[in-house]
Every structure is written in structure tokens, then in C-alpha cells.
Symmetry: C2
Subunit: 315 residues, 2 copies
């Protein structure tokens, strides 16, 4: 089988729901979209590499789904509404079955968020997927990492740690009862787009957790020039990790990475009830003065977790 680059694009990537604001999509030198002056343009780009960000021989639909999910998560962290994406797909060979599966996973998530593929590049090379997702946010306010204030409450969505446990299960080839749920949490993270939109006017700062809760909290605190106390006892406990020793569970939760949950702060009097309709939200700490640093407490005393955050050059 030999598929040219153009055939691949035409067959699997060109047919999809069309947005009205896309004036020219796939097939020309560039895409053309309506501009708008009542919104800010929000752009994020993330890359996933086989063997680095996901195990070799991961199912193609999961690769497609995950490549978009990690990008939508970035837009969620800004409070933005995603609208379109560009895709760079580097694959070793034009394996039609693989491409079909990849496109199926990609468009499953894209259609859920009305995100249109507007262009990109398909090249021969090692399996590397880069997506650039764009969208819009109201001009009066968007979320950043930089707005946390002393006294703010610190929250997290979902259950950090499940994705890291899922990656471990994938690497171990684990087939125990809860393994499939955890693997899905790694392979198909749910970008918290609706939560991000709802937090836009409520949260004082926000980011998504990709490198591990503690590492990312440090980044949020650095950007906000503040410190934080993270109360380990308040961390949501995964029912799927019930049989995992507590220290290991905490390591997954604090240092595991790949959660793509939202970490955010809000004033102590903020009304958050009902905001995370599609995901649980938990207060896990408090923002404090910068000089106090980022600290964990457990049973009321200082706690130094094992493990560390994820840095793609220092693993």
C-alpha cells in the first residue's frame, strides 16, 4: 500500500464538521479564519513523542485523542473556548489503518468541543505529534498562573495521580481490575474546558497539571510570587487506587504528572458550588507569603513527599 501525503490528508483529515468562522481550511498554503476584536486570541501548542510521552505501540485512536486532549487542557487553563487546531503528524510510514485510527480518536474529542482541523503537515519521520489549538476568550478577563493572592484557597479538579498510576499499569502490562480505568486516565485525559470557562471570572489563577501537582504548584507560585501550603490529607483519594500503599499513592498524586486536571486558586469567599458540574473539585491548600515557599503538610506537620515532577530532559 502506498498513500501519498495528499491522499492521506484527503481521505482521513479533510472531511469533518465545518465551523462558520473558518473561511479556508485544509488544502491551501495556510488557513484563513474570521478575526474578532471583542475577544482575545488564545494559542497553545503541545507535542507528544512516542516512547517519551506515551509508550511505544499505544493504540492509534488513543494517540490521536491524547494529542488533542493535552492541548485543549492548556486552553481550559486560560478559560478559553477552543475553536480550531493545526496538526503536524510525523509517522514512520503511511500505514492507512494506523492513520484511520488516529483520525478517529482525534475527531472523537474534536467534535465534542466543536474544534475544526484547519491544516498542518504530514511528514515521514519518527512518531511525533504536534497540535496547535486556538480559540477565543473574552477580552475583559482570562486566567493565568500569575494571579494567586495570599489567603486564596487552592483547588484541584478530579483525582491527581490516577494518570501516573495508569502509565505505570501500561508499562507493567497490568491487567488487574482497576487497571483499565487508570490506563484510560493516562491515555484519554479529559480536558477541563467547561470548568476553565466557568472559572474565568472566579479563579485568581489557574494552570493545568501536566508535570505533577507539586512541580506545577511551584510554577504557579513562582508566577504569582507567592507560597502555598498543600494539605496532603485533603487530596482526593482514588477508589481505583484503593489497594496501592499510601506512600505510593501520594507519590502518584504529588509527582506523577499527566493528570491534565486544573490547579487553581480563588478568594476564600468565592462561591464554587456547582461550578464543576462534570468533575469534582477539592480544596487542597492555601496560598501564603512567598517567603514560606511551597510546603506540604500531613497530619498537621511538615511532610516531604518522595518522587519528583516530570521534566522531559531530566527523567
Amino acid at each position: 500500500m502506498s498513500l501519498s501525503e495528499f491522499d492521506i490528508i484527503a481521505k482521513y483529515f479533510a472531511t469533518q464538521t465545518a465551523r462558520e468562522d473558518v473561511r479556508l481550511g485544509i488544502g491551501d498554503d495556510a488557513a484563513v479564519l474570521d478575526g474578532r476584536s471583542d475577544r482575545k486570541l488564545v494559542l497553545a501548542m503541545d507535542t507528544i513523542v512516542e516512547g517519551v510521552h506515551f509508550p511505544a505501540r499505544t493504540d492509534a485512536p488513543d494517540v490521536g485523542y491524547r494529542a488533542l486532549a493535552v492541548n485543549l487542557s492548556d486552553l481550559a487553563a486560560m478559560g478559553a473556548e477552543p475553536s480550531w487546531m493545526s496538526l503536524s503528524l510525523s509517522i514512520p510510514r503511511a500505514d492507512e489503518q494506523w492513520i484511520e485510527g488516529f483520525a478517529q480518536g482525534l475527531f472523537e474529542l474534536a467534535s465534542e468541543h466543536r474544534v475544526q482541523l484547519i491544516g498542518g503537515d504530514t511528514v515521514r519521520g519518527p512518531l511525533v505529534v504536534t497540535i496547535q489549538v486556538g480559540g477565543w476568550v473574552e477580552s475583559d478577563r482570562w486566567l493565568t498562573r500569575a494571579g494567586a493572592k495570599i489567603g486564596d484557597a487552592l483547588f484541584v479538579s478530579g483525582v491527581p495521580g490516577e494518570a501516573a498510576a495508569g502509565l505505570q499499569a501500561l508499562q507493567d502490562g497490568s491487567t488487574v481490575q482497576w487497571a483499565d480505568i487508570l490506563k484510560q486516565r493516562f491515555l484519554r485525559p479529559t480536558p477541563r474546558v467547561h470548568l476553565g470557562r466557568a472559572l474565568r471570572t472566579i479563579a485568581s489563577s489557574a494552570m493545568d497539571i501536566s508535570d505533577g501537582l507539586l512541580t506545577d504548584l511551584r510554577k504557579l507560585c513562582a508566577a504569582s510570587q507567592c507560597g502555598a501550603i498543600l494539605d496532603v490529607d485533603r487530596l482526593p483519594i482514588s477508589s481505583a487506587l484503593g489497594s496501592v500503599p499510601e506512600d505510593k499513592r501520594l507519590e502518584y498524586a504529588l509527582a506523577g504528572g499527566d493528570d491534565y486536571e486544573l490547579l487553581f486558586t480563588a478568594p476564600p469567599d468565592a462561591v464554587l458550588s456547582g461550578i464543576g458540574a462534570d468533575v469534582a473539585i477539592t480544596q487542597i491548600g492555601t496560598i501564603v507569603e512567598s517567603r514560606k515557599g511551597v510546603r506540604c503538610v500531613r497530619n498537621g506537620t511538615a511532610f516531604t513527599p518522595s518522587g519528583r515532577g516530570w521534566d522531559h530532559f531530566n527523567e
Copy 2:
């Protein structure tokens, strides 16, 4: 030496000229830019892979320059003004000298066009560079491949074929007198941004030549539902290719690829004098009815060139 991803970003990619329309650049989950309703948003994304799109061990500054040039060329082909870029850089290891060189080449071209790096991703993996460049074009008119009309004149900028000869010289390790000039034409193509802007209201169709003049002309004709007669005798002759046999020179020009010149059409009465102030423009043919296909003539008779266009899965 061990540089974390964050150190790399901070050291080499974070400091540069800032544009006023970039509200939030590198360092958060996504970038935030001013929208505008008087313009259309134009977005292009191209990927280059070591060993596929450029030879292994190409100097880092040339890799950085070329990665941006091929993207700016896409915006040029739309008549758009480039404004910002996102960069996905997958590199095998955090080699500080390489990264410094890459950034130097990238920003050399970026600053020439006032393009700001607003974000992206740096990951460990095979050497793959993806850039997404964005910009704006006037809402009343932009260039596409689809507007060529029967009777239009067909033009090309610069000297197609020099880049392909340059790639050959790189692969052969050629050191003859003109080799350096040709190598530069491959490694550092000049995106025809100013020409594209000037053509916006004059050209009936346009695209950039990346896959070879003849292959790309076929795409333009397919998009415009027309045919074309390409007069081979009119092709600009490279003085650097004076010692190359004519058949080989024609193969470079017609099938070589990597030129990143603009191929465009304009009504026969269009005034083009003075438009390509920074590059020569040559009429090389005429647009004809679709049923006549895309044909070459040489010395007034039909001509079938050797070689073929560049397709990254069928080389």
C-alpha cells in the same frame, strides 16, 4: 551539562523583541493575543525532520532559519503579514550549544519580519521542528490557489531549481565555487513575504513552491479548475548552475522542490513592473482550459521533463 526544559526556554527563547499585540507570551499554559475584526487570521504549520527535510548534522542556525522560512513562505503565499509563531522543538538531548545556534538562526529571520515567539513545547525526541506561524490579512482579499482564470499569465519569483541543486551539493559534499550559494538557497530560503503582500490585490492565485514547480503547478491548476502551459524556455536560468547540463538544470527547476518561491497567476493586463522589488519575477506560462491539462513546451513543442515532484511518503 544538564539543562531542564524550563531553563532552556528561559535562556534562549524567552528574550526577544515584544510585539504590542501579544498580551501574554511564553511561560503560561497558552499565549494571549489581541484579536481584530478588520482582518482575517491566517495560520500555517510546517514540520521539518532531520534526515527527511534536511541532511543530518545540518548546522543548528540553518535548521532554525529554515524551519521558520518555510512557514513564512506559506503566509507569503496568502498575501498575509506574519506576526507570531509557536515552536515545537523535539531534540535528542539538551545540547546547549546546538540550542543556542538554533535560536540564533530562528530569531535572525524572525526579527527581520517582526515575528514574536509566543510559546510552544520543547521535548526530548528525534530532531523534529514544527513551527506554526500566524498573522493577519486584510478582510477584503487574500490569495489562494483557487483563483486562476483562463488567459491569465503564470509567473514565478526567483530562480526555481537552485535549492534542489543546493541540496544535491550538500549531499555530495561539493565544494566547487558556486556550491555555497546553492547550499544557502536550500538551507536559508527567502520567504517572499513582501512580494506576497504586494500581490494580494493583483494576483488571481498564488502558492509557494515546496514540492517542485511542476507538482505545485498541478495543484494550483486543480484548485483553480484550469490547465496551464509552461514554457520551459522562459524559465529563469541560474548563473550558479551555468556548468550543469541543461537537462539536469531543467530537472532541478521543474521537479526539484524546496524553492519557497511564489508561483502565481495574474490577468494578462496586470501591471507587475516594480512589484518584486526584492526578487526577480518571470512569466513562465499561461493558464488554459482544464481539459488541456498541465503541459510543458520547449522550443514550441511538447516536452516531458524527467524527474518528479517531492512527496514525503513516496520518495
